[in-house]
């Protein structure tokens, strides 16, 4: 949980909310086909809830957020460019909407989709 002070009290941002923003930013990035469960628990989530928060984990410390994303990407793209863009976009959107600094974005490529032969 991430908290910030404001003049009236504290604001708590739950990981679930952050994950929504991360998910949106990642799926809008070019080359990203989908998210993949990062562990057994997330696999269970995916089985019952296609739109659930699988594929993303968020950790926080006093410096900010560390976000880990498990991705499936389109085969045939330059992976480094795709992941750079995802990381940049996720960092930007989370910082902009949540006002919390993002210190790290880890990206794991869990799979590739081959849409065509060549």
């Amino acid at each position: 949980m991430t908290s910030q002070d404001n003049p009236m009290g504290k604001i708590y941002i739950l990981p679930k909310a952050i994950k929504t923003v991360v998910r949106d930013a990642a799926l809008q990035s070019y080359g990203v086909i989908g998210l993949a469960p990062g562990n057994v628990r997330q696999s269970f989530v995916k089985m019952f809830d296609e739109e659930g928060d699988y594929g993303i984990s968020v950790a926080s410390d006093e410096h900010g957020l560390e976000i880990t994303i498990n991705l499936i990407v389109e085969y045939g793209l330059r992976i480094k460019s795709v992941t750079d863009s995802v990381a940049e976009s996720v960092k930007y959107h989370v910082e902009k909407t949540m006002g919390v600094p993002v210190t790290r974005v880890n990206i794991h490529i869990r799979g590739m989709r081959i849409s065509d032969e060549d």
Binding site: S29, G31, V32, E74, L77, R78, S81, S85, S89, D118
Partner: protein, 558 residues
């Protein structure tokens, strides 16, 4: 012309290569044209970049991707179009940079796949290649956002599909594609709210437009190394150079804005002009050409008659040259000489008058540029490269130029500091802190601090109807930006300035300086200053001829 390949074929050879059906040699020439033209307009594309992350690198990324494609294709030249496309696509894929670069590499991948096994390409195959490019590019994203490069590609493909019967030549086809891209790019703000909010079109789409426009320009024999996102202003036509060449018998200067006929050929037009006069310069932008020529007294109407046979004349401007010459000699700008080891300042200035003030404040060189005519990194570097010092400070004086200044700093071996000035008054304020023999870092710091000492209002005419930051603006109204933020819109110029005075806390300031722009007259500015003095007795009011385009007034509050 900037050349990427070792030798760009000459005009006749190009003409031969660019005939449909295209061979591999013709195809790589088109790719090169797209790359050169995109490179020329790269900074403009960068400045548009707000989506998905506003980091201003779309143009650069697309150029690097195209360059990687071209480098690979250039190293394995082939007469076989399919092979050429494949090599190009492979190079682009390996060198893809950034989001837009990745998409671009996918476009070429799809494009090349349709050409596989074909030794030559005609319009029908090109249409198929575009369809394949579109399909491949769209497959790379689960949630396509419309109003991006993908939309522009889709619209271009649709146009090609719909016009298959009227595309009898390659040139016709590219005209169709470029027109479709233009319409599509202009529509992107309607599809993507982030663009509308920022008042820009999609940068990736714009980049794609430039690539195809470059191909078309190569076929039409137009220049590829002068950016044309606006009509070239008189200042940019480099009149100072033309003036030096004034000799006897050149009595009149004639400048004509015109819209060329469909069959317009620049070369032919040039040839005709050469028989009429000298110092010929032709600039173009958004379909409008501007011609500049010096003629003898008797021949002063000939350029008009001649141009009428080449297009529709929009505007004619004529001046007695000898008279202008005498006037100019008086007003030549003298820049501060730079001594070795001293700090030299280079300022970007949008107008003659403002340049003169910069010169009087000790600037070593001025680069012309501003809101709609951003100087390139090359222009900036050229301005200070030859100065006899290795310590240089750049005043960009516009937020869209700061990035170019930073890139200029990167490519130069000199120690370059950038004061992030967003307008000319901030530039002036920082010049007061310049100590040419001071410690470099301290001077930069001090000059940067000075920015906050001045507030700036920019008065201009709205070019479109919109609502920005809660202010309703009608096209043609006078709008005022205060420290870069739109604060009000009024029907008249005087009304706008009055409303501005009401908006700012005039008691806070000691001095107001009015810089009036190109096309404004001094007496109007003076009467405005008088009115200001009457209403605010404690204020010191100054008036200067700024000569900047687009802005009727730039007003500094100190």
């Amino acid at each position: 012309m900037k050349q990427f390949s070792t030798t760009l074929p000459d005009e006749a050879e190009r003409h031969k290569l660019l005939k449909s059906p295209l061979t591999g040699e013709g195809l790589i020439l088109l790719f090169e044209a797209g790359l050169i033209w995109l490179t020329t307009n790269q900074e403009y594309v960068n400045a548009l970049n707000v989506f998905p992350v506003p980091d201003g690198d779309t143009g650069t990324n697309m150029v690097l991707t195209m360059q990687a494609g071209f480098a690979e294709a250039d190293s394995k030249r082939s007469k076989h179009a399919g092979e050429m496309a494949k090599t190009f696509a492979h190079g682009a894929l390996m060198g893809a940079r950034g989001n837009s670069g990745v998409i671009l590499s996918q476009i070429w991948r799809g494009f090349s796949r349709a050409l596989d096994g074909h030794a030559t390409v005609d319009q029908q195959l090109l249409t198929k290649a575009l369809q394949s490019a579109r399909d491949t590019a769209y497959r790379g994203v689960v949630r396509p956002v419309e109003g991006t490069i993908l939309t522009v590609l889709k619209d271009m493909t649709t146009a090609a599909e719909g016009a298959s019967k009227t595309m009898s030549t390659l040139s016709d086809m590219l005209v169709t594609l470029v027109e479709a891209a233009d319409v599509s790019v202009k529509n992107t703000p309607n599809l993507l709210p982030q663009l509308k909010d920022a008042g820009v079109v999609d940068s990736g789409g714009m980049g794609l437009f430039y690539i195809f426009e470059g191909m078309l320009r190569m076929i039409q024999g137009l220049s590829l190394d002068t950016a044309t996102n606006n009509v070239v202003s008189l200042a940019q036509l480099d009149l100072s150079h033309a003036m030096e060449q004034v000799e006897e018998g050149q009595d009149y200067e004639v400048v004509i804005d015109f819209e060329p006929n469909k069959s317009f050929l620049l070369e032919q037009y040039y040839q005709g002009l050469e028989e009429i006069g000298v110092s010929i310069q032709v600039g173009e932008g958004e379909g409008i050409y501007r011609m500049h020529i010096h003629t003898e007294l008797e021949k002063r109407y000939e350029p008009i008659e001649f141009t009428e046979t080449h297009g529709i004349i929009k505007k004619v401007y004529m001046e007695n040259l000898q008279d202008q010459m005498n006037h100019r000699k008086e007003s030549e700008i003298k820049f501060n000489p730079v001594h070795p080891g001293e700090i030299a300042v280079v300022a970007v200035s949008p107008g003659q008058g403002l340049s003169r003030i910069f010169a009087s404040l000790g600037v070593a060189a001025v680069v012309e540029g501003g809101q709609t005519m951003n100087p390139s990194v090359k222009d900036l570097v050229a301005a200070f490269e030859d100065l006899p010092t290795d310590k240089v400070i750049i005043l960009p004086n516009n937020k869209n130029i700061i990035l170019a200044a930073q890139n200029a700093a990167k490519v130069s071996v000199k120690q370059v500091g950038i004061i992030p000035t967003r307008n000319t008054p901030q530039g002036f304020a920082s010049m007061f802190r310049l100590m040419p023999d001071g410690d470099f870092d301290e001077v930069v710091e001090s000059m940067t601090e000075a920015i906050s000492e001045v507030h700036t209002a920019e008065v201009t005419t709205a070019t479109r109807t919109a609502e920005i930051e809660g202010v309703k603006v009608k096209k043609g109204e006078v709008i005022v930006l205060y420290d870069g933020k739109l604060i009000l819109s009024e029907k008249s110029l005087d009304g706008a300035v009055e409303a501005l005075y009401d908006h700012v806390d005039m008691d806070e300031f000691e001095r107001v300086t009015l810089f009036y722009g190109e096309g404004m007259n001094q007496s109007a500015a003076n009467s405005l200053a008088d009115k200001t003095r009457e209403n605010y007795e404690d204020l010191e009011v100054e008036v200067h001829d700024g000569g900047q385009p687009h802005y009727q007034y730039i007003i500094a509050f100190e």
